[in-house]
Symmetry: C2
Subunit: 319 residues, 2 copies
Amino acid sequence: MAVYTQLSAETLAELISHYNVGGLVSAKGIAEGVSNSNWLIETSTARFILTMYERRIDLSDLPFFLDLLDHLAAKGCPVPRTIHDREGASFRWLDGKAVALIEFLPGVSVDHPTEGQAYNVGTVLAEMHLAAEGFASSRANTLGPATSAQVLAECGEAALAEIDPQLPATIAQAREVAEAWPSDLPRSIIHSDLFPDNVLMRGDEVSALIDFYFACTDAMAYDLAVTHAAWSFTSDGLGYRAEIGRSLLQGYESVRKLGKDEREALPLLAQGAALRFVSSRAQDWIETPADALVTRKDPMAFVHRLDFYRREGDGIFAE
Amino acid sequence: MAVYTQLSAETLAELISHYNVGGLVSAKGIAEGVSNSNWLIETSTARFILTMYERRIDLSDLPFFLDLLDHLAAKGCPVPRTIHDREGASFRWLDGKAVALIEFLPGVSVDHPTEGQAYNVGTVLAEMHLAAEGFASSRANTLGPATSAQVLAECGEAALAEIDPQLPATIAQAREVAEAWPSDLPRSIIHSDLFPDNVLMRGDEVSALIDFYFACTDAMAYDLAVTHAAWSFTSDGLGYRAEIGRSLLQGYESVRKLGKDEREALPLLAQGAALRFVSSRAQDWIETPADALVTRKDPMAFVHRLDFYRREGDGIFAE
């Protein structure tokens, strides 16, 4: 989370002049996003988030992400709209990088969700899945269980063992999960990264889902499993917050009832969700020098979730 | 420039509840300030900057800085007010660190000031010097020319030469400047760090002076010299923008006419200003690993200014 690029007020004012949003009043680089730079921009008419895409995002996917925001917002989902420039473009180029102007929505990200908050996140997630159904574009999930298995194998047993002796076993576990992965569950556009960071709340209400840069076409129940893994544990992954997990599922099903096949798949889907973050964090850990000024996220927090789902998944996801 | 500390929404909401400012609506960590963490906070009534003091600031100075904002704002200077909590305190403690809630003022910092902007910065600086005169507290300048000479000497010729062969000569130059330093120029509270970063503008108007954490009791003409060094050059220090320097001085004198002693001292004061940033940047350069993720500022940008003032100072500051 960082602002990678410096933009002068003059450059920002010129950029803003291509949009029908009034003149530049204030601009603050904000510490959000891991794969892009963000500014909170105030103009004489409203506030916006300006995002500059720095890395990790395939720019050919950008129209998918930005059009998706418009589609979901138009359907009434609490999602920021993409602001289009005077010529109708959803993104522009600045210093050789793509930039997009996104609606600012109020709200704060919670660290320790309440049951009411988890319930409402579940309902909004289900509403998003239903609202996305008419969306014309699709995008493959490039971070599925096969990728996790491959990333862990590429890290190598030795490097994984150096982080934690328990990690090398996840290579085989990821292969098992990938082999058993269901391919026929109901699909839609999924967020696939709905951590508390990516949900803005006002009290118990969800005011915005943000950061759709992992959105893709995949099983809706997998999105619910990712969200379950992201919300229902203490941050070290050691403590399962049963009431949060239960409220999340109840909220989801208050809008969209899970099929029998989806519910039965949840223990495996949740293992796949945990493995995705085990693999990406292990890779980042190995690639990031220990003395770098960025915080490395401990892959073990998701190994503990993985263990929990392997052990308890059948029980907690039973109806 | 960074957000060093993570604060949860729950922690922020609790903090905000001690102020009479309404409930928390939004909070974004912003990439501003080198010695503290900052959040742009929106409540149900207004917007604020929340500052957490991380390092470099002697906390016993905090009442001086915060009360100064209130004094200057009350005198009509474009300076953000300090918000006091329900018990009247100007700062509170959070996780063992001092935090203050500061009024949010709109505006953007310019990179390439126009003559009109430089003129207005000059007028606001002079107005601030006059407005500060009734302020009851004082604070010694801990970053004067003697300190610069000492810091450079402590860096050592070898380490300085490694950065640039021209740098070791500044040790003797700083000693000369410190020995010739005038002690009887008219004093007030000075900002002493009025770089474009620390001035918010709307068009040509100054909407806010910010970041008073180097403010101290010292010669007003020295503050003007610092501001001259900060505004009148291309960022590499190689290009003097004569029209900007002239406009700044004209703006200043439209409010407060410089005395003959002040004007004659300006070439030396400007060398002292340049040396202050040469010394602090050289020190940071030596102390910051080359592969650290923070940007090291090149001390040579101020060596070039120093050279310019030594060579041309008498000419450009002559009436």
